[in-house]
Every structure is written in structure tokens, then in C-alpha cells.
């Protein structure tokens, strides 16, 4: 009995150990690249980490929208669906937040923005269920369509009277603490949905095997539509929070929101596709990004050094899985 408890404990910490190993691999990767590029590796890595974690308030406010983006990627992923559309959902969410804020004040914008994202997620789901369009393909096309639609809408209808290439500002900003509380609440909600509700149960069954889902009495189309819509809700919220905690507005090149969906994929994977892993992974990635920019300012080193570290971490995390898959499927 004691033994069994010890073992099940080990199984619980195993993923955490794997993530830590990936973290170390990432740091080593950064080390090597900076040395190759001719910068002092100790100085660059410590600069990245120190400045990344230097201003906790700033770090948190950046991490929170990213956490939402990671969650938006994770929920459909657990059903075996790739929500590459988080990016577009975030654009729409940001736009909705700015628009609603121009009509009424907080908190309505944050409440309505997710609905806009949900619409996009639902659309991707519908295309997959009723038209057989792969969600990755439709997402990528939608992301760009939405990019230009949102950009056009800003410059046409929501433009700031003074600075014409950006939108009006939202009515107020959220403090890092407020944002953190929202992120924690949503994390708990997503975790609860995945592990305590029938919906989450069916999402996970579908992720394990769509045939088993059908057998269990649910249907693939229903779960696809709900999981994609839920992903859209979270993606929309990611965009809204980006506006409300980081930028305060969006501009016609979408620079405030651009890339948040793709970073969310990285954060979701580094967080091992778990709801509870999303926030820590997002904080880590945000710190690396902040540190990367600082690196450029101080040492003149390319900020991509931080991207290399993120990339190595993702590789290190997916390597064991990819190896297993290769050895069991292709050979033999």
C-alpha cells in the first residue's frame, strides 16, 4: 500500500520533472546559441532571466492574456482538435472589447468579447462538422481574413480622433492583480469543466478516440462544436484582456494582439496541455520575451535568442512523445 502510494506520487510528479528538464534544456540551448553568436552566454542568460522576472507586475499583466490564449488552445486540443484560430479569435475579442467599451464601461466589454470569439470558434467547428474542412486549414485562412477585417473596422469606425492609425482607448485598464485573479478564476473554471463535468469527460474521450466517443453515447459533431466554441470564448477573452491589461487600444497593424495565438500554442504545449500548467508556462514564456527585448537593448544581441530558448523547450517536451510515436508506428 505504501509502495503504491509512493508510485502514484511519482507518476504525478513525472510530468513536472519532464517540464523542468525541458526548462533546463531551453536554458542550455540559449547558452549555446549566444556563445555561437559571440555574446557572453552567462551575461546574456542571466540578463534574460533577471530582467524577465524583474518587474513582476509587468510580467503578470503580459502573462494573463497569454494564459487565456494557452487555455483557448488546450481545450479543443484535449478533444484532438487543433485550435490554430486563437489568433483570429483574439483579434475579434480585442475589437469587441474596444467597441463595447466605447458604448458602455467595464465590465461589459470583457463579458461580451468572449462571445465574439465563440462565434469564430463555432464557425470553424461548423466547417469541420458539416463541410469536412480541416480546422487547421480554415483557422489559418480565417486568421488572415479577420486580421484585415478588424484592421479595416478600426480605421473606418473606431479610429482615435488624434492618432488615426489606432483605435480609441478602452475606458480603464486592469491592474496586474485584477488580471491575475481573472486568470486564476478562468483556470479553475477550465480545469473544472475538463475534469468534473460531463462535457469535459466527453472532450477527453474524443481526444482518446472518436470511435469510443460515439460508443459512449455522445456525438463527435456535438463535442467538436462545443469544444471549438469554448476555445473561441477563451480566445476572445485573451484578446480582450490583452487590450484591458497591456495595450489599452489596438492599431491597424494589430501589433498589440499579433502573435498571441501562436505564443498560446507554445504556452499550452509547455504547460503539457493542462489547464493548471497554462499560467506557469505563460509566465515563463513572457519572462523570456521581456528578457529577450532587454537583451537587445543592453547587449545588442538579437531578441530571437529568447525565441530559441522557447523553441528548444518545446522540442524537448515533444521529443519523448515523438520518439515513442515513431518507434511504435513506423517501424515494427
Amino acid at each position: 500500500m505504501m509502495l503504491a502510494m509512493g508510485e502514484s506520487g511519482l507518476r504525478k510528479v513525472y510530468p513536472v520533472l519532464e517540464s523542468l528538464a525541458a526548462l533546463i534544456a531551453g536554458i542550455i540551448g540559449g547558452f549555446i546559441v549566444s556563445a555561437v553568436l559571440g555574446y557572453d552566454p552567462f551575461a546574456s542568460i542571466s540578463l534574460i532571466l533577471l530582467s524577465g522576472f524583474g518587474n513582476i507586475e509587468y510580467l503578470l499583466s503580459i502573462s494573463v492574456p497569454l494564459t487565456l490564449s494557452a487555455l483557448a488552445f488546450i481545450v479543443p486540443l484535449r478533444a484532438g482538435l487543433f485550435n490554430i484560430g486563437v489568433e483570429g479569435q483574439a483579434y475579434v475579442g480585442a475589437l469587441a472589447a474596444v467597441y463595447v467599451s466605447s458604448l458602455t464601461g467595464f465590465p461589459l466589454p470583457i463579458i461580451l468579447a468572449p462571445l465574439a470569439g465563440a462565434l469564430i470558434g463555432f464557425l470553424i467547428g461548423v466547417l469541420r462538422v458539416y463541410r469536412g474542412v480541416n480546422e487547421v486549414v480554415s483557422s489559418i485562412m480565417l486568421n488572415w481574413t479577420l486580421f484585415y477585417t478588424v484592421s479595416f473596422t478600426i480605421s473606418r469606425y473606431l479610429r482615435d480622433p488624434v492618432i488615426v492609425h489606432q483605435s480609441v482607448r478602452v475606458d480603464r485598464m486592469l491592474s496586474a492583480l485584477e488580471a491575475l485573479l481573472i486568470a486564476l478564476a478562468i483556470t479553475i473554471a477550465v480545469h473544472t469543466i475538463l475534469y468534473r463535468t460531463t462535457l469535459g469527460y466527453y472532450i477527453r474521450v474524443m481526444g482518446s478516440s472518436p470511435e469510443a466517443l460515439k460508443y459512449s453515447g455522445s456525438s463527435e459533431s456535438r463535442v467538436t462544436l462545443t469544444a471549438m466554441s469554448l476555445g473561441g470564448v477563451l480566445g476572445g477573452l485573451a484578446g480582450a484582456l490583452q487590450v484591458y491589461t497591456v495595450s489599452g487600444f489596438i492599431d491597424v497593424t494589430m501589433s498589440a494582439v499579433f502573435g498571441i495565438g501562436f505564443m498560446g500554442i507554445a504556452a499550452g504545449l509547455i504547460g503539457r496541455a493542462t489547464a493548471v500548467g497554462a499560467l506557469p508556462a505563460s509566465i515563463l514564456i513572457s519572462a523570456l520575451i521581456i528578457g529577450g527585448h532587454k537583451l537587445e537593448l543592453v547587449l545588442g544581441a538579437p531578441p530571437e535568442l529568447a525565441d530559441v530558448m522557447i523553441g528548444v523547450m518545446m522540442l524537448a517536451l515533444s521529443a519523448p512523445y515523438a520518439l515513442r510515436l515513431l518507434s511504435s508506428k513506423v517501424l515494427g
Binding site: 468534473r196 463535468t197 460531463t198 477527453r204 474521450v205 470511435e211 460508443y215 453515447g217 513506423v330
Partner: protein, 506 residues
């Protein structure tokens, strides 16, 4: 150290899986040239584990392996293949969307350089020699299981292997196909190949093997010349106690109609009509068996009854209600339970035992519409595990980590413990050892005695003959014969199943 005739020699093999399971506790094993060597043992005895180690798929925690007298330390199946060892798994490793020829080419090209045309020519020549006509240009997904297995065997032989490991090859085959396979295995042996046959069917080991090694709970019990050991002794050594080899039911008391299928037509995934006007009835308190060679529509028939596949025409009545258009879950609420042939359908392998134990009855474990009661679910999982003897370390184990037989016990236990009014069971005892299979059979008989209706589709004719109160034969999508089990001999069944004679029924 090892003599030349020991094609394979494994010494003191210990395997502890990363999660702490001790699958093998110091096992010796040897196989010689030109023999069929049966590896016999109960579910979870460690048969598959031992052979996966030989095949280089997993590494032993301790122990040494010699192949053709040389020390072997395979780091991957590819290395094992190069040394002449091939393995055909319980679950095949074929790519469903690719054709037979493409799958064979893919496997061979990973071992050595060879052109597709050359592979094709050699594959055709070999299958002619074995007397198999293979549909080389058909995608794997369109083939019945028996043919898929042949593709695996072709792959192994073409790779030039001298040692062929087969993991429970007969569990997916019909009696006729088993005969065919055994004939081929014997001729391969006569040419000098070494064949290791994993099985828990004593009768099979007895019939086809030259020697037999018995494993029990990760330990070797012994290796014997098959001719010198009797079936009861094999059974005793395997289980550790005497077991009865058959089950016999009591007298049935059939009641009202539970399940009625009328002129049903069903298509398969490729759009081919597989069930062509099938009509049958199952009453409460009786077991109706369906015999048939795999691929004659039985899978499509039961899937249509379960609501996983649409009916093109005809009707399905469940407990008097027209269920032809109802969803699977509605049929479940009418009292229907279904044990599928494939564990990939009946289990979510990535999820744990507790989660799998409620897969078909989620609504019973739900509070306030959406809130899953995991405490209650855990109790239920514990009951199944105890009741059906599922060997696991904890209820939080993923189902993937269970041995094939234990997965089957979990799936079957879940459905039988529901006490369904109507049970549709497709190969319910596949992959189970004799004792467990008999336990499952007894449980089905109990269920019947309590008044449930059972439709049993099985490729085990003895199982069908001993359990069924009425027996149907399906051939080419039609029920071609119906009678009491006493009316059939094995020969007659074989002829009916092969479509040789037609009882001109219906």
C-alpha cells in the same frame, strides 16, 4: 555459452515497467531452429512483455539475450529485424489508408534499400507460395482482420526473418482461418523457421506446437515437449489449479421479444452493402448465438443494432420500441448494452480505469445535469476490478497500461455489471484465458437466468454451442440457418458458414 541450435536464448530476464509493475521476474527462454514454440500463460503473465524485449521494442531491466549464438542488445525493432527476428502484434501496426503493397514496401524499406517494384514482385511470389490470394492494391482499412494479419506475416517473412513471433494470432480469426494459418506455420517450420506463438489457448498450443513454455505471473513454470504433456496438466501449470474447461447453461425460459431485427440492410465504411436483409429475434431469458466467418456482416449488424451505424433499410425494435433511428444513448436508456469487438471502440485507452468504468453509463454518475460524481464512479470501478479480477496497480492507471486481457475484462465487466435488459456481445471472451473466459460465460448465463436477452456473436464455435439457446448462422449478410445448438455438428456449422450448403432458411 550458448549452443548453435539455440536460435534464441534469453537468460534471467527481469522487466520492471517505469510505473513500477514487475512484469517479468527472471525468466529463461530458449527456442530452436525449425520448431513451433508456444508461449502459454494467463492474462498479464508477461508473454507479450517477454517477446517485446526479444524484438527490441522495450529493454529488459536485467538479463541477457543471445540470437544465433551471439549476444544481442537490440535498441529497436529495426535492429531485431536485421538480425532476423520479426513480430506480429496483437494490435497490428499497419497504416489503414495505405494499400497492402504500400504497407509492405514501407516496412521493408525501413530495414533495407529496395524498390517498390521489387517488393511487389517478391510479395506476390511469396503469397503464391503460401497459397494466399492477396488484394495488393486495396487499402488496409477495407480488409477484414484475417487478411490484415496475413499482410503482417508477409511483411515479416519478406524482411527475411528466421524467427517469427506471433502475439495471439488466432484471437481475431475464425476457425477456418485458424486452420489456414496453422498450415502455413507448419510449412514454414518445416523449412527451418522458428515460430514463437503467444497464446493462452491450451488447445491451440497442444495442437500446433512442438514445445511449449509456460509463464505464470512473470515467472517461468517450465518448458515441455508438447507431445509429452496433457491438456489438463498444461491448464494446471498455467493457472496453478485445476479448472473446468467448459461451461454448460441451465434450461432457458424465453419470455417476450426483447430485440427484433427485421429485414435490416447495412453498409460498411466503404459503402458496400454488408447486411442484406437480416431478420432475427431475441427473447428475454435466452441467448441467441450468431456464427459466421468474419467479414460476413456480423460486425455491421451488431453496430447497427447498437446505433453506431445507420440502417439503410429495415427495422430494429428494442423492447417493443422502434429504435431504428434512435441514437446510441437512447438505445442504452431502453436497456441495451453493447460489448464491441474492438477495444479501441469500447475503451478510451488514454484515460484511467475509473473514467472508463462509466463510459456507457455516465448519466447514472451525474449530479445536477453536468457534475460527474467521481466518488461514486470510483466505487463502481473498484467493484468491476474486484469482480472481474482486473489486474492493475491502481484505479488511476491508464487503460493503455493494462494487458490486453485485463482491458477486455474491464470492458466486459462494465457492461455485464450494468445488468442490461438486452446485451449484444461481440467476441466477449477474446484475449481472455480459459478461467476468465469461463467466468465471463457463467456471468452471461446468470444474466440470462435473471431474464436478460443476449445476442452473442463469436468466432469461438465451442463457446457458441455451449452458451446459445438458439444458434443462427450468418453468411454474406444473411441469416442462412437457425436451430438449436444440438442440431449442429462442427462440420455442419463449418459448411454453413462457408456458404457451401444453404439450409434455405427464411
Amino acid at each position: 555459452m550458448s549452443s548453435r541450435e539455440h536460435v534464441v536464448l534469453m537468460k534471467g530476464i527481469v522487466k520492471v515497467y517505469p510505473d513500477g509493475t514487475q512484469a517479468l521476474k527472471g525468466v529463461d527462454f530458449e527456442a530452436s531452429e525449425g520448431e513451433i514454440h508456444a508461449l502459454l500463460g494467463e492474462n498479464g503473465a508477461g508473454k507479450t512483455t517477454l517477446m517485446r524485449i526479444l524484438y527490441g521494442e522495450i529493454r529488459p531491466t536485467k538479463g541477457e539475450i543471445y540470437v544465433f549464438g551471439e549476444k544481442a542488445d537490440f535498441k529497436s525493432p529495426r535492429e531485431a529485424l536485421r538480425s532476423g527476428i520479426a513480430m506480429v502484434y496483437q494490435q497490428f501496426s499497419l497504416i489503414p489508408s495505405l494499400t497492402v503493397a504500400e504497407n509492405i514496401y514501407l516496412a521493408l524499406s525501413s530495414v533495407r534499400r529496395i524498390s517498390p517494384a521489387e517488393v511487389r514482385a517478391r510479395a506476390e511470389e511469396l503469397s503464391r507460395k503460401l497459397g494466399w490470394s492477396m488484394p495488393f492494391d486495396y487499402p488496409i482499412e477495407s480488409l477484414p482482420v484475417g487478411l490484415r494479419q496475413r499482410v503482417e506475416v508477409l511483411k515479416a517473412l519478406l524482411a527475411g526473418s528466421k524467427v517469427l513471433i506471433l502475439d495471439e494470432p488466432t484471437s481475431v480469426l475464425t476457425p477456418l482461418e485458424v486452420e489456414e494459418l496453422f498450415k502455413v506455420l507448419k510449412s514454414l517450420r518445416d523449412e527451418g523457421m522458428t515460430i514463437i506463438l503467444i497464446t493462452h489457448k491450451i488447445r491451440e498450443a497442444k495442437r500446433v506446437s512442438d514445445r511449449v513454455t509456460i509463464l505464470r505471473r512473470g515467472l517461468k513454470v517450465g518448458t515441455f515437449k508438447t507431445a509429452e504433456i496433457s491438456e489438463p496438466s498444461l491448464a494446471r501449470l498455467m493457472i496453478g489449479e485445476e479448472i473446468e474447461l467448459t461451461v454448460k447453461g441451465g434450461i432457458p425460459k424465453p419470455g417476450a421479444q426483447a430485440l427484433v431485427v427485421e429485414k435490416l440492410k447495412v453498409k460498411d465504411d466503404m459503402g458496400v452493402l454488408r447486411v442484406k436483409e437480416a431478420t432475427l429475434t431475441v427473447k428475454y431469458g435466452e441467448i441467441v448465438g450468431i456464427a459466421g466467418v468474419q467479414g460476413n456482416g456480423q460486425r455491421e449488424l451488431v453496430e447497427a443494432i447498437a446505433g453506431l451505424r445507420p440502417a439503410i433499410a429495415g427495422r430494429i425494435l428494442i423492447d417493443g420500441v422502434d429504435a431504428t433511428r434512435l441514437t446510441a444513448s437512447k438505445r442504452g436508456k431502453l436497456g441495451l448494452s453493447y460489448i464491441p469487438e474492438s477495444k479501441l471502440v469500447g475503451l478510451a485507452l488514454e484515460m484511467n480505469i475509473v473514467e472508463n468504468s462509466i463510459m456507457t453509463l455516465l448519466s447514472r454518475f451525474t449530479r445536477r445535469l453536468v457534475d460527474v460524481d467521481w466518488g461514486k464512479a470510483r466505487d463502481n470501478a473498484g467493484d468491476i476490478v474486484r469482480d472481474f479480477g482486473v489486474v492493475c496497480r491502481s484505479l488511476d492507471d491508464t487503460v493503455k497500461s493494462l494487458s490486453g486481457g485485463n482491458q477486455q475484462k474491464l470492458m466486459v465487466g462494465r457492461e455485464i455489471r450494468r445488468r442490461p435488459k438486452i446485451l449484444v456481445a461481440h467476441e466477449p471472451t477474446q484475449g481472455l484465458d480459459v478461467a476468465t473466459a469461463n467466468m465471463v460465460r457463467r456471468r452471461m448465463l446468470n444474466l440470462r437466468d435473471e431474464g436478460s436477452a443476449i445476442l452473442l456473436v463469436s468466432s469461438d464455435l465451442e463457446e457458441l454451442l455451449s452458451l446459445s439457446d438458439r444458434l443462427l448462422v450468418i453468411y454474406d449478410g444473411r441469416i442462412v440457418s437457425e436451430g438449436r445448438p444440438e442440431d449442429y455438428t462442427l462440420e455442419k456449422l463449418g459448411l454453413l458458414m462457408g456458404g457451401v450448403i444453404d439450409a434455405s432458411y427464411g
